[in-house]
């Protein structure tokens, strides 16, 4: 169906259900209970899940299929964001043109960067992309201030008068989709539970589902097979009379456009952008997401993006008081001891947990969470589960 075989279609449906019901699934604990802080079903975070999911899906098309490890992918996200916000500031507050502008600007930038960087492979390629990203960051921070707003970045201001949006005098423009405000939410109270359905989230989710569908089609297409050939043996490809570079460049540009799409969506949600979005740690983050979930698998990057964003937002909120509350039932000495042990790993130290999990994944599970799911499925002998057929595991290279 939809040009997918049965396995892919099942996976696709699984993701569709997961994203559409996310406000329920991510809010399993009742309001006001001790576990409520583990709820991730609020609009801001859910938007981030899907947007960074898109970013990671795009990165996976490059890294998972061709094996080219780009360490500067955040540059495309940032450039796309700048393109989108200018569209909003000047032309219209409707998000669709803004997102399209983000994709196009990032795509053009990716053609330029890819054309140069793809002349080299391996670590040289990583360093070249890193160099381009750091250059964009430094320029956005300093010289290009008239275009990028420098350190403060760009926001939509009361003085902005987009041509196509009829704004009253002094009215601050807000991002909308044909009049529907991105921040509009519908709240549903069910007993102790509160579920929020946010317009922005659902728009982002639909875009994510479309990009996920496109990425599956790319994985299954002859073009996708060609990219895998680049990864497994480029020399042999040359000897059979094929030039790998157009294929890798196409993959690079597609993946850059995905990043631009994610950047455009970020702007559509919070209508602001700053240069730190292009810093190399942001590029490192998308690498972490993809590896954590499982590079080269279809659903892995989305899982990885969700896991990291969840940790960033939820784990980092746990402080000492909350820990004391949790362990209060233990004898005093034990409580202090446990809090002292756990505290470095949560709150401000959540990066430590991230680093340890990441190392463990690279060492023991080169296929990421997806491979972990597969192994569990095999151990429990339930044959094929959803996660198990999510991949014909091709670990990162």
């Amino acid at each position: 169906m939809l040009g997918l075989d049965r396995k892919d279609f099942r996976l696709m449906m699984f993701v569709v259900v997961l994203t559409l019901l996310a406000p329920f699934i991510l809010n399993p604990f009742p309001e006001g209970s001790g576990l409520a802080q583990f709820n991730a079903g609020y609009p801001d975070l859910m938007q981030r899940f899907v947007i960074f999911g898109i970013f990671a899906i795009g990165f996976n098309i490059l890294f998972g299929l061709t094996g080219y490890l780009s360490f500067g992918h955040a540059a495309f996200l940032g450039v796309g964001s700048y393109g989108a916000i200018w569209m909003m500031k000047l032309v219209t507050l409707n998000v669709i043109p803004a997102i399209i502008a983000g994709i196009i600007v990032a795509g053009i930038f990716a053609i330029a960067v890819g054309y140069i960087s793809l002349r080299r492979s391996g670590i040289y390629f990583s360093i070249l992309t890193l160099a381009f990203a750091q250059m964009s960051y430094a320029l956005a921070y300093s010289v290009l201030t008239p275009l990028t707003g420098g350190e403060t970045g760009l926001q939509i201001k009361p003085t902005d008068r987009p041509i196509l949006s009829n704004l009253q005098d002094g009215e601050i423009g807000r991002a909308n989709l044909f009049g529907m405000d991105m921040r509009q939410s519908f709240e549903l109270n069910m007993g102790d539970w509160l579920f929020t359905f946010n317009a922005g989230y659902y728009i982002a989710a639909v875009v994510m589902l479309i990009s996920f569908y496109v990425s599956i089609r790319i994985f299954r297409s002859p073009f996708g097979v060609m990219l895998r050939a680049v990864k497994s043996n480029q020399t042999r490809m040359y000897y059979t009379g094929l030039n790998a570079r157009p294929y890798t460049l196409a993959a690079f540009v597609i993946s850059g456009m995905y990043a631009g799409l994610a950047g455009g969506l970020l702007v559509a949600m919070d209508t602001q952008v700053g240069p730190e979005r292009m810093f190399w740690t942001a590029s490192g983050e998308v690498v972490l997401m993809t590896i954590l979930g499982g590079a080269g698998t279809r659903i892995g990057p989305v899982l990885g993006a969700g896991a990291i964003k969840y940790m960033e937002n939820i784990l980092s909120k746990i402080n000492k008081d909350i820990l004391y509350e949790w362990f209060a039932f233990l004898p005093d000495g034990m409580t202090d001891f446990l809090v002292a042990i756990v505290y470095p790993f949560v709150g401000k130290g959540w990066h430590l947990t991230l680093g340890i999990i990441f190392m463990a994944v690279v060492i023991f599970l080169p296929g990421g969470l997806v491979e972990g799911g597969q192994r569990l499925a095999r151990i429990f002998g339930r044959g094929k589960t959803k996660e198990a057929d999510a991949t014909q595991s091709t670990p990162a290279e």
Partner: protein, 343 residues
């Protein structure tokens, strides 16, 4: 003319740090074939060795000084560092004052140990894995090390001054016949540069003139054959990893008076150091040192006011720009060898 000399001098100390880190990276890459993204973290740990030593030296006990009183009339409590008890007041004060140079002795065994543990415990299992995996696992390790340091020492930079004897600046201009006060250069930076040159020289001499170094060089050229000759090359390479860690650590120790150490200094240097290694040519030791100094000096030239007036922002991007140009024109970097990381 004065401005040019001044910029060259300014570039030397940053270049020294780049060169030392890049040298260590290349040592590891050349011997073990591993791309070590945690090398910046080793530099950072070295810097924190200096911080730790100065904290150990200033460990104090509280003494009640009867001769002075605080504003309430109670006897004043004074902290007396424990070293005063062992060495007497004058020597003790001098030892505390010289904590950064002393940290060199303190850091060498620690860094060697960290390096060896890291190689035996983690890197060893990654020889057969693809380079991307090595990059990723060491990247994860770098995050972990950095967060551990952040937990124990906090997120703020910790000022660690140089000994009083090296405070102040040296008037180069007067020596070379220019007007005084035109070219002044802090003493500590001269020390840093000299120290870096000494360290680079020592590493090269060690590889060139000792039997151990000869075996290591042979192993770099053809590991398998050396192994077949009955030499335990793995053990020697492990020691080289420790040595590379020590070089990075010492670069960090001596850098503390120039820039107060903070937990993310390693990552800041790492990104540039990788660019340096690649510009110098993967696997080439002289290339790494040369590229380190060249890029350091270019960076400081690009931050001259005259240059910035013509090309604003150049100081921010010069290193990356040079890297892109060099990689596209000289595919193997300045002094890279054939057949290294070519696939």
């Amino acid at each position: 003319m004065e401005a040019i000399i001044l910029q060259i001098l300014n570039g030397l100390d940053k270049g020294s740090a780049y060169a030392l880190i890049a040298l260590g990276l290349t040592l590891i890459f050349g011997t073990l074939g591993v791309v070590n993204f945690a090398h910046g973290a080793l530099f950072m740990i070295g810097a924190f060795c200096a911080v730790t030593l100065s904290r150990i030296l200033t460990l104090s006990r509280e003494v009640i000084d009867e001769s002075k009183t605080d504003f309430l009339g109670n006897p004043l409590k004074v902290d007396v560092p424990l070293v005063y008890d062992y060495f007497g007041e004058a020597t003790g004060a001098a030892i505390i004052n010289w904590s950064v140079p002393l940290a060199i002795l303190f850091a060498i065994p620690i860094m060697m140990l960290i390096g060896v543990v890291m190689e035996r415990g983690l890197i060893k299992h990654f020889y057969k894995r693809p380079h991307a995996d090595q990059i990723l696992v060491t990247f994860g390790l770098a995050i972990v090390l950095q967060e551990i340091i952040k937990y124990f020492y906090g997120a703020n930079p910790i000022p660690t001054p140089a000994p009083d004897a090296f405070q102040g600046s040296f008037d180069f201009g007067a020596m070379l016949g220019f007007d005084p006060n035109l070219i002044i250069y802090p003493y500590w930076r001269i020390i840093y540069f000299t120290f870096a040159m000494f360290l680079v020289g020592a590493v090269f001499a060690f590889l060139q003139f000792t039997t151990f170094g000869m075996v290591v060089r042979a192993g770099m050229a053809d590991r398998e054959t050396v192994g077949l000759l009955g030499i335990n090359i793995d053990k020697r390479f492990t020691i080289m990893f420790g040595l590379a860690a020590a070089v990075a650590g010492l670069a960090g120790v001596m850098y503390t008076p120039i820039n107060s150490p903070n937990y993310h200094m390693g990552m800041d240097f790492l990104v540039i150091s990788f660019v340096v290694v690649v510009v110098g040519g993967m696997g080439s030791l002289p290339g790494a040192v040369l590229a380190g100094f060249v890029l350091g000096i270019l960076e400081s030239f690009a931050s001259m006011r005259e240059v910035l007036e013509i090309l604003p922002g150049l100081n921010q991007i010069i290193i990356y720009l040079v890297a892109i140009i060099i990689l596209l024109t000289l595919p193997r970097g300045l002094m890279g060898k054939k057949g290294v990381m070519e696939d």
